[in-house]
C-alpha cells in the first residue's frame, strides 16, 4: 500500500479508483432506495387508510401526497436505478471484465460521483425549502410544473430541475469513461466478440442515454426559464405549447427505460450461465436484438401520449413500432430461458434473483401490450393498470437485477461472502410480497381506478377497491421490513462474512482472475490475457466445467 492510499480522504472520499467510486455509488443508491421505499410506505398508507395519520409520518394532505409520489418516482429512476445499475456495477465491472487496471479517466470518474453526490444534496434540499419539493409527478408536465401558482410549489420545482440536470451530467461523465475505457483499454485477446454481455449492455445503455438526453436537457432548461424569467415555451398564454414538453420528455423517457433495462439484463446474462454451468444461448443473436431495440427505442416515444391531444393519426406508426419492440426483447428473454436447458443448476441467492428478474419482467412485458395498443390504451391510460405495468418492469430491472448483482459480486466488492440463508429468506419474502402488491393494482386499473389521487373514497365507484388497497399496502410493509435481512447481511458480511476466494462461483470472466477484493491499484496481480469467449462452461473434453477466459489451456 503506497502512502497516499492510507490517507482517509484520498482513499474513501476523493478516490479516483473505479472500485471505490463504485462502492460510493452503491451505498448512496441503496440509501436513496430506502428513502424511496419509505415514501411508498407513507403514500400507500394514505391510500389504504385515507385521512388517518400515518404512523411515523403524520397526516398526508393532497399536496404532500403529490410531493411523495413525485419524489418516489424521481428517486427510484434517477437516484437508484441509474447510480446503481450504471454507476456502481458499470464502474466496478467494466475495467475488471476487460482486464484494465482502471477507467480511462479516473479524475473524470471521481467528478462524476461527486456531481452525483451534489445532485443528491440538491434534491434532498428541496424538501426543506418553502412550499416543499416538486409535486408535478416524476414526468413534471407543464403547465402544472411551469407556473408556481398552479402547484403551490416554489423553489422545490427549480431545485428538482437542477438536481436532475446535475444527475444527467454525472451520468454523461461516467458514460464518457465507459465508452473510452471499453474501446481502448481491453487487454490482449479481449476482442469485441469475446466481451462479456454485461459490458456490451453497459455500452448500449450509455449510447442510448447519450443520444436521448439532449432533448430532455433542452426541455428542462426551457421549463426552468418558464418558471424563473417568465418565458412561455410550454404555457399557451404567450403562444407556448404544453405538448412540446411531452415530446421532449418521452423522446428521452423511453430510451431511459432501456438505460436501466440493458445493464440489468447484462447482470442476469452473467449470473445465469455461471449457475447453470452453460454458455449463454445465442450471444450474437442477443447482441443484434439489443442493437435493434436500441434503434427502435427512439421511435416509440409517443405511445405515452396517445390521448394527450396530439394528432390521433400519429398513433398508427407509434403503436405499430411499440408493439414490434416486443420482438427483440422476446429474443433476449427466450435466449436467457434457453440457456437453462440441460444445465446443471445450483439455486444460489444471486441466481434466484436473476431468475425472478426474468420471470417478473415477463409480466411487465406482456401487460405492456395493452398499453401499446392505442385503442386499449384509451381505457387503461393513467390508471393503476399502467402503474402496475411499469412496476412489473422497473422493479425486476432495478431491484431484482440490482440485488442479483449485489449477491453475485459481493465477494469481489468486499472480499467476503454474503450469508446464503439470510439471502434466501430475503429473496422469498421480497419476491412474494412484490406480486401481492402489484397484482391487485392490475385489477384496480381494469376497474377504472385513475392514478395519483390521494383518497379513493372520494369516488363512489372506487370504494369497492379499498380491500385491494389495504392488501397492497400490507404487502408493501412486509416487503420493506424484509429488507432488514438484506441490510444486516450486507453490513455483517462486509466485516464478518466468510473470506472469499478469487473465484468463489467458478466463473469464467476476467473479474474472477483478480483477487477478492481486487488489488487496490491496478486490479490484477498480473494483467490477464484472453484466449476464448466469456461463457465457456462444460466444454466437451474438459474435466473442469468452467474454462476461464484467461486460461491458455483447460484440462
Amino acid at each position: 500500500m503506497t502512502s497516499h492510499q492510507s490517507n482517509f480522504w484520498n482513499y474513501y472520499i476523493f478516490s479516483k479508483d473505479h472500485k471505490m467510486i463504485a462502492k460510493q455509488y452503491l451505498i448512496t443508491g441503496l440509501i436513496m432506495a430506502l428513502l424511496g421505499g419509505l415514501m411508498a410506505y407513507v403514500f400507500r398508507m394514505q391510500l389504504a387508510f385515507p385521512g388517518e395519520a400515518v404512523p411515523g409520518f403524520g397526516d398526508v394532505d393532497s399536496g404532500t401526497y403529490n410531493q411523495l409520489i413525485t419524489l418516489h418516482g424521481t428517486i427510484m429512476v434517477f437516484w437508484v436505478g441509474m447510480p446503481i445499475l450504471l454507476g456502481a456495477f458499470g464502474n466496478f465491472l467494466i475495467p475488471l471484465m476487460i482486464g484494465a487496471d482502471d477507467m480511462a479517466f479516473p479524475t473524470l470518474n471521481m467528478m462524476s460521483y461527486w456531481t452525483f453526490f451534489v445532485s443528491t444534496l440538491v434534491l434532498l434540499a428541496s424538501f426543506f425549502v418553502e412550499g416543499g419539493p416538486a409535486s408535478s409527478g416524476w414526468t413534471a408536465y407543464p403547465p402544472l410544473s411551469a407556473r408556481p401558482e398552479y402547484s403551490g410549489v416554489m423553489w422545490g420545482m427549480n431545485l428538482w430541475i437542477l438536481a436532475v440536470a446535475l444527475e444527467f451530467f454525472s451520468v454523461l461523465m461516467g458514460g464518457v469513461n465507459y465508452l473510452t475505457t471499453t474501446f481502448n483499454m481491453r487487454t490482449k485477446g479481449m476482442k469485441f466478440s469475446r466481451m462479456p454481455m454485461f459490458v456490451w449492455m453497459q455500452l448500449a445503455a450509455t449510447v442510448n442515454f447519450m443520444f436521448s438526453v439532449g432533448p430532455l436537457i433542452a426541455g428542462a432548461l426551457m421549463l426552468l426559464l418558464d418558471r424563473t424569467i417568465g418565458t412561455s415555451f410550454f404555457v399557451p398564454d404567450k403562444g407556448g405549447d404544453p405538448l412540446l414538453y411531452q415530446h421532449l420528455f418521452w423522446f428521452f423517457g423511453h430510451p431511459e427505460v432501456y438505460v436501466l433495462l440493458l445493464p440489468s439484463l447484462g447482470i442476469v446474462a452473467e449470473i445465469i450461465p455461471t449457475f447453470s454451468r452453460k454458455p449463454l444461448f445465442g450471444y450474437k443473436m442477443i447482441l443484434i436484438s439489443t442493437a435493434f431495440s436500441s434503434v427502435l427505442a427512439f421511435m416509440v416515444w409517443a405511445h405515452h401520449q396517445f390521448i394527450s391531444g396530439m394528432d390521433p393519426r400519429m398513433a398508427m406508426p407509434f403503436g405499430l413500432l411499440t408493439i414490434i419492440i416486443s420482438v427483440p426483447f422476446a429474443v433476449v428473454l427466450f435466449a436467457y430461458i434457453a440457456t437453462l436447458w440441460k444445465g446443471s443448476i445450483t439455486f444460489t441467492t444471486p441466481f434466484l434473483f436473476a431468475i425472478a428478474m426474468i420471470a417478473e419482467f415477463l409480466i411487465g412485458g406482456v401487460t405492456g401490450i395493452i398499453n401499446g395498443a392505442a385503442a386499449a390504451d384509451i381505457y387503461v391510460h393513467d390508471t393503476y393498470y399502467v402503474v402496475s405495468h411499469f412496476h412489473f418492469t422497473l422493479v425486476p430491472i432495478t431491484i431484482f437485477g440490482m440485488l442479483a448483482g449485489v449477491y453475485y459480486w459481493f465477494p469481489k466488492f468486499f472480499g467476503r461472502m454474503m450469508n446464503e440463508t439470510l439471502g434466501k429468506i430475503h429473496f422469498w419474502i421480497t419476491a412474494i410480497t412484490f406480486n401481492v402488491i402489484f397484482i391487485p393494482l392490475l385489477q384496480m386499473g381494469m376497474g377504472g381506478h385513475q392514478r395519483r389521487i390521494p383518497d379513493p373514497t372520494e369516488f363512489e365507484y372506487l370504494k369497492g377497491m379499498m380491500g385491494m388497497h389495504k392488501t397492497a399496502t400490507i404487502a408493501l410493509i412486509i416487503l420493506l421490513i424484509a429488507q432488514a435481512f438484506f441490510i444486516f447481511n450486507f453490513f455483517y458480511s462486509m466485516y464478518k462474512g466468510k473470506k472469499a476466494e478469487a473465484n468463489p462461483w467458478k466463473s469464467t470472466t476476467l473479474e474472477w482472475d483478480a483477487p477478492s477484493p481486487p488489488v487496490a491499484h491496478g486490479n490484477f496481480e498480473v494483467i490477464p490475457k484472453v484466449y476464448r469467449g466469456p461463457y465457456e462452461y462444460s466444454v466437451p473434453g474438459c474435466k473442469q466445467d468452467w474454462s476461464p477466459q484467461s486460461a491458455e489451456t483447460v484440462n
Partner: protein, 229 residues
C-alpha cells in the same frame, strides 16, 4: 368470448365500448397464453436442469441456425400475433379517435383547477347566444352522438368516464373534439385522469344519460331559465 378481463371493468355504456373491450380481451387472452407458456418453459427448465451428481451440463451456445430456431420460431409467432393485435387495435382506434360521426348534441368541456365546466348551446344549438347554459352534470340523451369540444383553462386535465371507455386529455391552448354515443340511461362517474394539482383527487362530476324526451324537455327548461336571467 369469455369476459375474463372485461369482467373487472365497469359496465360498458358506449357504442364504441365494445370495440375497446374486444381489443383488451383479445390481447388479454393472447398474452396470457404466451405468458403461461414462457413461464411454464422457464420453470420446467429450472426443475429439470437442477444439479444432479455426476451429470454434466450440455454444451450448447446457441450459435448455429438450428439451435437459434428454438428462439426465433416462437419470436416469429410473437411478431405475427403483434401485427394481428395492432391491426385490431387500430381499426378500433380509427373508429373512436379519428372518425367523427355527425353530432346530434355538442358540448363545450373546460377543465380547470379543480372542476369540469360543461357548456350547452341551448335550444338554438349555437354557442354564444343567450340561451347557453352551464349544467353541473354532463347531461346527454341516450342513443345520440354527442360531441365534446374539450379545452383547459390552466393546466392539463383528462376527462375520464370509465363506463363510456372515454378518456381525453384537455390541454390549455388546444381544442380537441371527441365524441361518444351512450347506450343506456343512468348516472355514471366522471373523474380527472391527469395529475392537475392538489385538487386532482376531488375533480369529480357525473354523466347523466336521459331518454330523448326527458333530455329535450330538460334542455328547453334550462334554456328558458338562462334567457330569463
Amino acid at each position: 368470448m369469455l369476459d375474463w378481463i372485461v369482467g373487472y371493468m365497469p359496465e360498458n355504456i358506449a357504442t364504441f365500448g365494445e370495440d375497446i373491450d374486444y381489443v383488451i380481451n383479445l390481447i388479454g387472452y393472447i398474452v396470457f397464453i404466451w405468458w403461461i407458456l414462457a413461464e411454464g418453459v422457464l420453470f420446467y427448465f429450472l426443475f429439470s436442469s437442477r444439479k444432479k451428481e455426476g451429470v454434466k451440463a450440455t454444451y450448447e451456445d446457441g450459435s448455429t441456425m438450428k439451435a437459434m430456431s428454438w428462439v426465433l420460431i416462437p419470436v416469429v409467432l410473437v411478431l405475427g400475433f403483434d401485427l394481428f393485435i395492432d391491426y385490431k387495435s387500430h381499426s378500433a382506434w380509427d373508429k373512436i379517435k379519428i372518425q367523427l360521426p355527425k353530432a346530434d348534441v355538442v358540448y363545450r368541456v373546460m377543465g380547470q383547477q379543480f372542476a369540469w365546466t360543461y357548456t350547452h348551446p341551448g335550444v338554438d344549438g349555437k354557442f354564444g347566444t343567450g340561451d347557453d347554459f352551464e349544467p353541473d352534470d354532463l347531461v346527454v340523451p341516450v342513443h345520440q352522438v354527442v360531441h365534446t369540444v374539450i379545452s383547459a383553462l390552466d393546466v392539463i386535465h383528462s376527462l375520464w368516464i370509465p363506463n363510456l371507455r372515454f378518456k381525453q386529455d384537455s390541454v390549455p391552448g388546444r381544442i380537441i373534439t371527441g365524441w361518444f354515443e351512450a347506450t343506456k340511461t343512468g348516472d355514471y362517474p366522471i373523474a380527472c385522469a391527469e395529475l392537475c394539482g392538489t385538487g386532482h383527487g376531488v375533480m369529480a362530476s357525473t354523466l347523466k344519460v336521459l331518454e330523448a324526451d326527458a333530455y329535450k324537455s330538460w334542455v328547453a327548461q334550462q334554456s328558458a331559465a338562462a334567457l330569463a336571467q
